[in-house]
Amino acid sequence: MRKIYPKEEYCLGCTLCEVYCAVEHSRSKNIFKAFKETPSPVKRILVETKNHDALALSCRHCDEPECMRACIAGAITKDKETGVVATDYDKCVGCWMCIMACSFGAIRRGSGEKIALRCDLCPDAAEPACVAYCPNEALVYEEREKEAVRVGGPKKDEEEEEEILFDG
């Protein structure tokens, strides 16, 4: 699937992606009005910085999402066709189990609302706002062969056909 990939070596840490992400997820979608709204719009991408390095991180839309397994409300699903991991905000109760489970730290609490927000790849826009407005092309939206690997996630099926033995 097409995903947003950060390019650390190009990222200036300007956080414009955060700003335009929040605007795209506001009610007005207008940069002059968005930040006056209540609840205030929430960015779903986060620029991490360390000394002069920066890295913009958003939902990885994992193959086997840990957030989806952790969700007690059955609110998180992965679309079999598109691969998009989506949260049904009508079902989300704000228990924060997904925030506890996501090893990328890519899910955020809503502002004032008890819902857990994530990148939705901007379904209303031609391409995700963070990618479109990045001044240095440090974010790309593309299809790559090998999918991102999750931290601590289950390993893929083992190749060798060893006998399964009880070792308890």
């Binding site: 228990c95 489970a101 990328f104 609490r109 690997v149 308890g168």
Partner: protein
């Protein structure tokens, strides 16, 4: 129903069973799946019951999957039926009303609440929070009850207490230890929670045992071991759960506290798997076998067991005790080893911002994170979960773990690249 045959037989219609069905269907679109459960209801979320009691979710939103889940996944449901015995050699399960031959069997029989051996525990108005009927019963009881008393101060008790407080009841919580959430938090974190609850009018009694539940037919209160009588027209028992192992144990399947499984979640009997609350698995933080009867563990185990039942060879990395809670705008998350006994082996890092009710703690052993408590500031908590599961050596940047700006960028390049930067 007399005799039936199925490719996959799943006992237990909850987190593990449902995720197993989905995993089987990822690999096998045609095989016959049969699902047995004593309860006659579409799958609902047990952890949501406190939200149901609070009125935050209704009957529909309580459902974990849409009503047509079974139809869409072509699952034969045998609800309201009890599995009474297994014959692993003949690959048969006996039900109240017949028998089923299986090719692969999953035991996802869950756990049951522990009822303390107390006089009065069966009085009208005494509940546990486990099933839909319990939640319904508690809600019904709130019509006449003004005072609710909780025996035990774990996550289920606290969530339900919060729900009933929102419904206007006066809440008392009695715990035998000297703190709330004694299995998940340390005293300092628990005291932040306690103070917040007391500010909102909760009465918290620590270090006291309930000796008897008082009343004739209906509950009227409880007696404590100091002779004190606390009145309550609704009593909720929250003393944890015990895995439902009798079916397995009586059928020659190896059981310790829970059903013992190998790295692939198979029991000592071939073609029989166990997942969810009933399974005793390797705890990645404690580095020993443990019962971690928690939703995220159950769903993942169900998923992996399902894949393996359908022919995969997927290893289970292990379970982790973890939970999350928020009330009165005070969020908290606890994971892994939070309060080690043998403190010499462990290194503990703490960050406190008392005016904001922030308390964060990570527990390390030989440079590897084994647990954490996050109170008041839980954003990106999963970064720590990942580091625990991955057993990343954090010695070089451990001081940064509790900083607000901690992120994947702090990880060594090799790890970071593997995770996100390179495809």
């Amino acid at each position: 129903m007399a005799k039936q045959k199925t490719d996959y037989l799943i006992i237990g219609n909850s987190a593990a069973g449902i995720n197993a069905i989905e995993a089987i269907r990822e690999r096998d679109k045609k095989g016959k799946i049969t699902l047995v459960d004593q309860e006659d209801a579409p799958v609902y979320s047990k952890p949501l019951l406190s939200y149901y009691i609070a009125g935050k979710v209704d009957d529909e939103k309580l459902l974990y999957r849409p009503r047509d889940f079974y139809e869409k996944n072509e699952v034969v449901t045998l609800f309201g039926q009890k599995a009474t015995a297994i014959n692993p050699k003949q690959k048969k399960v006996f039900l109240d009303s017949g028998e089923i031959s299986y090719d692969q069997l999953l035991l996802a029989t869950g756990s049951s609440p522990i009822f303390p051996n107390l006089k009065g525990v069966h009085l009208k108005g005494v509940f546990v929070v486990r099933k839909f009927a319990d939640a319904k019963g508690i809600l019904e009881r709130t019509r006449q009850a003004r005072d609710v008393l909780f025996v035990g101060g774990g996550f289920v008790s606290l969530r339900t207490a919060y729900a009933l407080h929102q419904r206007g009841l006066k809440v008392t919580i009695v715990v035998a230890s000297d703190q709330l959430l004694s299995r998940s938090l340390d005293l300092e974190a628990a005291n932040i929670v306690r103070t917040r609850l007391e500010q909102k009018g909760f009465k918290i009694i620590t270090g006291r045992d309930v000796t008897q539940i008082e009343g004739r037919e209906e509950v009227e209160g409880v007696s404590l071991d100091n002779g004190e009588l606390v009145k309550a027209q609704l009593v909720v028992i929250g003393k944890g759960v015990r895995p439902n192992v009798s079916l397995a144990r009586d059928s020659g399947i190896r059981v310790n506290k829970g059903i013992l499984v190998d790295d692939y979640l198979q029991t000592n009997q071939k073609h029989i798997y166990a997942a969810g609350d009933v399974a005793e698995t390797f705890d990645v933080a404690r580095e020993e076998r443990a019962l971690n009867a928690l939703w995220p563990n159950a769903t993942e185990q169900g998923h992996i067991a399902g894949l393996n039942m359908a022919g995969a060879k997927r290893k289970y990395a292990g379970s982790l005790g973890m939970n999350s809670l928020e009330f009165f705008d005070l969020p908290l998350i606890s994971m892994g080893v939070t309060n080690p006994y043998d403190k010499e082996d462990f290194e503990i890092l703490v960050k406190r911002v008392p005016e904001k009710n922030i308390y964060k703690k990570v527990v390390l052993k030989k440079g590897v994170v084994k647990g954490a408590i996050l109170v008041g500031e839980i954003d990106r908590a999963g970064l720590i979960t990942g580091i625990i599961k991955e057993k990343t050596n954090v010695s070089a940047f451990k001081e940064e773990l509790l900083e607000e700006g901690f992120g994947l960028i702090r990880l060594p390049d090799s790890l970071k690249k593997e995770k996100i930067l390179e495809p």
